[in-house]
């Protein structure tokens, strides 16, 4: 459980920041998906964007946890 919180929670926070910064700068209506303009509704694009960021950040957190030297791992790794 702790392991999942350690992976999902920091990535959630960073994804929220990344989402805000990215979509303030980039208009979702101007994005292209596989060469086609994005046709989802804006709220769908924003939502998918958020989960994309969350997923990427979570992958990074997971890798950090995985690469951590054994001695410094949180006890949930038993």
């Amino acid at each position: 459980m702790l392991k999942w919180i350690l992976v999902l929670w920091p990535s959630f926070l960073v994804a929220a920041v990344a989402e805000a910064v990215f979509f303030v700068v980039v208009d979702p209506q101007q994005l292209y998906l596989f060469g086609e303009p994005v046709r989802y509704s804006p709220i769908a694009t924003y939502s998918i964007g958020f989960f994309g960021f969350w997923l990427a950040c979570a992958a990074s957190s997971l890798l950090t946890l995985f690469l951590q030297p054994v001695g410094t791992r949180p006890p949930a790794h038993r």
């Binding site: 702790l2 919180i5 929670w9 926070l13 303030v24 700068v25 208009d27 509704s41 804006p42 709220i43 769908a44 924003y46 939502s47 949180p74 006890p75 949930a76 038993r78």
Partner: protein, 465 residues
Amino acid sequence: MTEKGEVRPVSLYSARKKLHVRSVSGRFARWRWALVWLTQILYYGLPWLTWNDRQAVLFHLTERKFYLFGAIFWPQDVFYLAVLLILSAYALFFFTAIAGRLWCGYACPQTVYTEIFMWIEEKIEGDHNRRRKLDKTPMDGRKFALRAAKFGAWGLFSLWTGFTFVAYFSPLDELLASLTTFGFGPWETFWILFYAAFTYAFAGILREQVCEYMCPYARFQGVMFDQDTLVITYDEARGDPRGARRKGVVPASVGKGDCTDCGICVQVCPTGIDIRNGLQYECIGCAACIDACDQVMDRMEYPRGLIRYSTENALRQHWGRKEILRHVVRPRTLIYGAFLVLITFAMIAGLAMRTDLRVDIIRDRATLAREVSDGQIENVYRLQIMNMVERERTVEIRVDGLDGATLQEGEPIVLPAAATGAATVQVRVPADAAEPGSHPLYFEVSVREDPGVTVREQTTFMLPR
């Protein structure tokens, strides 16, 4: 017994014990409740306000506009958002340096919602003793009914919170229309449930664990502390040795300090710590223990303040209130304060000087320059003009910077309220007006209805060889 030399991993994490927090009343609890009301009236109320026949506060995701009462902010205004964030950070530093975790104890949504959820819990399941007893009893009809009522009330409250959250991003009137039929869009539904689930989990279940394990601020707030920071402190010199005694007994006569060891300060603590062990990182500075202890001191007819807001220096040097207050002004708070004032003024000045018209000039990419009749050279530009106020306005365009520069089609452009208009304009210059090459050219866009509003933007004019 472990054998010699054998290493066994020791868990530093203890299993969490569910806390049954005793409710507290008093002056700091009143402050907290005042902030609960203030922040939540704002949070739940703001989406319902209208302004200029639209929602007063709305981060309109579809239109990519942020309506804030009379003002509209566009993605181009992200600068103000950045300044606002810096401002909030300095405010946090400033208040933390003065009086510790004021934010955590009184205004943080985690504290505010936990307070509301605990209030609901107490109304349904009774006080902390009844709740503890209820936890231990096996499931029966009564327990089931109480639990269902509590979870149901929490759930409804969370859903309302989630609905309000979405109403900040998607217009409330559209959401309300969907509410009657539950015909929300799939993503609206998802975010209402998502936010509701977070509210429920954080305020109903996780509570103090959010502060202890999940909050980044809780981890670094200590660096803003110094020996003159007001923190919630147990006066050990006055309180120890602790022990029970009858009301009105002079502590010295029984060889004890003022602390009656009643343990109420621990029972009211939302993080379950004993403040008498000194400042701990779990302490969110809610001052519940101060309220609780003051009531006990009143009952014992001892002076209040055995647990109080005090500083490390004050405790060591036995300072009074006056000296503590004098030490609030010190380099750290002055620096934080100076930044706070400076950034606030910069923000206000920036907002006051913000023009409500924005012009972007894009040179036509297809042709740099072309020769037209009577030996004139023409360049084509595309002007994007953003009308940032909520009324229709007419703009006039002029050019200068090059001798003889004229604008074709001088027709005024009508911009709808709070919208961007585009115009393609041709500028002609006599071929012998200047050397071949690129020259600065200025567009001046002015609003017919507001003579003061003029935007001057630079671009380039190409004269071919």
